[in-house]
Symmetry: C2
Subunit: 321 residues, 2 copies
């Protein structure tokens, strides 16, 4: 239904900003700078696993919004939020959320600009972040000759979700790092700011690496080739995959809410790349996304948030219900 709703609204919203809709954030020009803005709503019932503390919920609302600002190569400069609060909410829960938001704003060094509260049937937190940058990183800037890079590692968020959801018994030294990524992800804010100077395109991993790569290829009008063996997948993800009989590469491609940045950078600038990252592939002329596994090149399936369905009924999102 989400796609249907988006199409419906697009038909009626003709006036758009200085950047077409469809990027990590919207943008308007102000003098020689860009102001970027994004919003992302969290609904307790559908978006929050029951092992998540209210502090983690509050922190995550900030993270998921500043991550989109970082993906535009912008420095976050303001946060706003609207609360929908059920009448029977436990005040300690709300206090935890407030604490989490407060800690996140200090962590990311972002001031709160405005807040609104209303009565609603379920706890709803709509987060909004503003950022500024002299040079915008879009999803449409990837160029043939660029290298495709990713910060951090991928797959732990989904591994954590599956361990929790299936009640899988894993050693603490595996559970701890994957739950950390599931419950306390951090946005790559400093990396986004630094990449603004050198990268050609960027996107953050909200819906899974494969889905983001397809968006990048499509919006940039290029072909992307990735090598599976280069994907930064930690051993803990491999261990969970093995225990569940899943393919760790597919898990890494599908894992959403990683909040790592995927970016493309001219090969000649790699030495000057200011952030720690892994080169996972390259940009070519053409179209589509391809992955080479064991020397065999194949089209990369669009796995991700909405498509994950390995023995878990419904989508990634509905897995929380």
């Amino acid at each position: 239904m989400e796609r249907e709703i988006i199409e419906l609204f697009k038909r009626h919203l003709k006036l758009q900003g200085d950047l077409p809709l469809g990027d990590d954030a919207g943008a308007i020009r102000l003098g020689d700078e860009w102001v970027v803005a994004t919003n992302d709503m969290l609904v307790r019932k559908t978006d929050v696993p029951d092992i998540m503390t209210p502090e983690q919920v509050g922190f995550k609302v900030v993270t998921m919004n500043v991550s989109d600002i970082a993906a535009m190569g912008a420095r976050p400069v303001g946060f706003l939020f609207s609360l929908g609060v059920p009448q029977d909410i436990e005040m300690e829960y709300l206090e935890g959320v407030a604490e989490g938001i407060g800690k996140a704003l200090e962590f990311y060094e972002v001031p709160v600009l405005s807040a609104d509260t209303n009565e609603a049937d379920d706890l709803i937190i709509d987060g909004i972040a503003l950022g500024r940058t002299k040079r915008l990183l879009t999803r449409s800037g990837a160029k043939p000759g660029d290298l495709v890079c990713v910060t951090g590692d991928i797959g732990r968020a989904l591994a954590g979700l599956l361990v929790w959801r299936r009640g899988l018994d894993v050693p603490e030294k595996i559970r701890e790092p994957i739950y950390e990524k599931l419950l306390e992800p951090r946005a790559r804010v400093q990396e986004g700011i630094e990449l603004s100077g050198v990268a050609n395109a960027a996107i953050d991993i909200s819906d899974g690496l494969s889905k983001e790569l397809h968006l990048l290829a499509e919006m940039s009008g290029v072909r992307i080739e990735v090598e599976a063996q280069k994907l930064p997948i930690r051993d803990e993800v491999g261990a969970v995959a093995e225990a569940l009989g899943l393919d760790p590469i597919e898990m890494a491609l599908a894992s959403g809410e990683e909040f790592e940045l995927i970016f493309t950078i001219p090969a000649s600038l790699l030495d000057e790349c200011p952030v720690r990252c892994t080169v996972i592939g390259r940009v070519l002329e053409g179209a589509g996304v391809y992955i080479t596994i064991d020397g065999k090149r194949q089209e990369m399936p669009v796995l991700g948030w909405e498509h994950l369905n390995w023995g878990v009924k419904g989508t990634y999102r509905t897995m929380f219900r």
Copy 2:
């Protein structure tokens, strides 16, 4: 509970913008300009009278946000929104909302920068507006010697609400103008931009004239005196008040969601005031808000959104339930 929640969050949110929280919108400095940002959530169940069409709902979400931008003396430059959508929503209703938002953005000439959609138990629309201005109009800028002015007329929104809520039978020539204000209010965007050059302070009427005047007096550290006979109250409001045995002045003081601007301006600049308005009082040294009725000066009660309780159980807000 709203006040309790606000206090709870304030304790945890230490990092604020270049303007303290508590104004119509938040603000940050960007070069020689201010970027202002505000958010306001609408919940169908509690905020929407059943006579309101989905187009009117969509339009109003934009109006209530750009009105806050106008009250800062800023030009709206971007709109964002997050939707919470119940699974059983009628698509025609959603289409109406989309149409209303689209029409409002064209009416106010504001581009949409970003949108997000989620599943929720009730229809929820969180609107966010951005604006820019060289000179900020705050709630704290009123100075002794200023005149207090208001755009348009006041009282029709509440008159309309009471007529609808009590099923009052009124002639069409009364119903039409008061329902227009209740269902299709318009923000004073052009006025806000023009006032930026001359006014000392401004606030929009969201919660009722009396409540806004008290905020203005308190945040500016001044005394405000208003003359009841100068309040711009239309005859239709008087007619409804009479039919219901209410005082039209109290109705005008309590009527919320008028989206008119209250502003203060040095008396010497009144001739140059670029917007049509009514002078309703003046700013003096001291504290408090006073109103003169029939030659008798008295403290103005804080009537408004949360305090309206004339034979209608609960508050203005709960009247929709």
